[in-house]
Subunit: 194 residues, 2 copies
């Protein structure tokens, strides 16, 4: 029987990778290129799906936490890249919300627009800004299901005080997803639409 | 600096509690009363919000995993009762989906209708049936935010092959939430609607 307490552990290649890329990321494009490189490395290292994300301090650009898709490897359907990055950021900062008054504003940069679960998790995370790469249509046309997100999901986030920017480095982000599928990568939705 | 690998750990009272209630739960009401008692104990023991959930084998009624709201205690905005129960069930069964062909059908029983994040997570979890206690309006009128769930969320789940039953032991479930608020329990949404 496995340990009854699941532990959120990043793949071992990530340590060396983040050591190479540590520091401050000033522009949206720099932050996004980093998230996309995480998604690409995750497929090359065969540690999960073609998705990467990172939490940054919004103004300083300091890298706070990274995430990659770990669903299959961790036996946990929650472990999308965005969920992993948010959980690690909150854990490191010892806060259950990144909007805690003693923290600076944080943002989540993700290689693809979020699925329905991550959309919800973004609201509860307390981030103030969301930056996305590939569009929902890019993810879905590759065969992944993003779930029943409201059509006005961007507006819903903005109404809750979360700025949303999307399509940053879109083609680069999309090509990682397309390559994953072209090379036979697994579609791991728990309950695909019939 | 805390351990950089967050671990999902249930409060210590849960061991004794589940030992007392172990075995098979045959009816929806029995399963729901157990989930509601988890929610009540979580508030009495001051380990989190007024929400409880459990994963059962659908036909046999065998208890597979339990969850309570651990957002504040675990410094993780993801740790709603439903998320905890699903993560523990998948971890114990060593599968990233409870729809894995070598598993029997599973169901999630939750003391309240899910928020937007848990709604999404339920889809990816592979459960085949969802049983809810308190309605969304009960949760929201107490001051909690369930987020921008689609109006037709039940239909969306059913279209994906997940049977939904709601309002089971509703008044009992609602009174736990109301008592929590009456006694000054914290509303811990990360980013409340302005």
């Amino acid at each position: 029987m496995p340990d009854c307490n699941p532990k959120l552990v990043l793949p071992s290649w990530i340590n060396a990778f983040t050591a190479e890329h540590s520091g401050f990321f000033m522009s949206d494009n720099e932050r996004m290129s980093f998230a996309i490189e995480l998604s690409r490395q995750n497929t090359l290292q065969k540690t999960g799906g073609p998705f990467g994300a990172a939490v940054f301090e919004r103004l300083s650009g300091k890298l706070v936490a990274v995430g990659v898709n770990l669903v299959i490897k961790s036996n946990c359907s929650h472990n999308h890249a965005e969920m992993v990055a948010i959980a690690l950021a909150e854990h490191r900062l010892r806060r259950y919300t990144l909007s805690h008054p003693d923290l600076p504003d944080h943002e989540l940069v993700t290689s693809s627009e979020p699925c329905i679960m991550c959309f919800g998790a973004i609201i509860w995370s307390g981030i103030k800004r969301l930056v996305c790469g590939a569009y929902t249509v890019d993810v879905e046309s590759a065969g992944f299901d993003e779930g029943p997100k409201p059509d006005n999901w961007i507006e819903e986030l903005e109404q809750r005080g979360i700025e949303v920017i999307t399509g940053v480095e879109r083609l680069k982000a999309r090509s990682v997803i397309q390559n994953y599928i072209a090379e036979g990568g697994l579609l791991y939705n728990g309950n695909p639409r019939r």
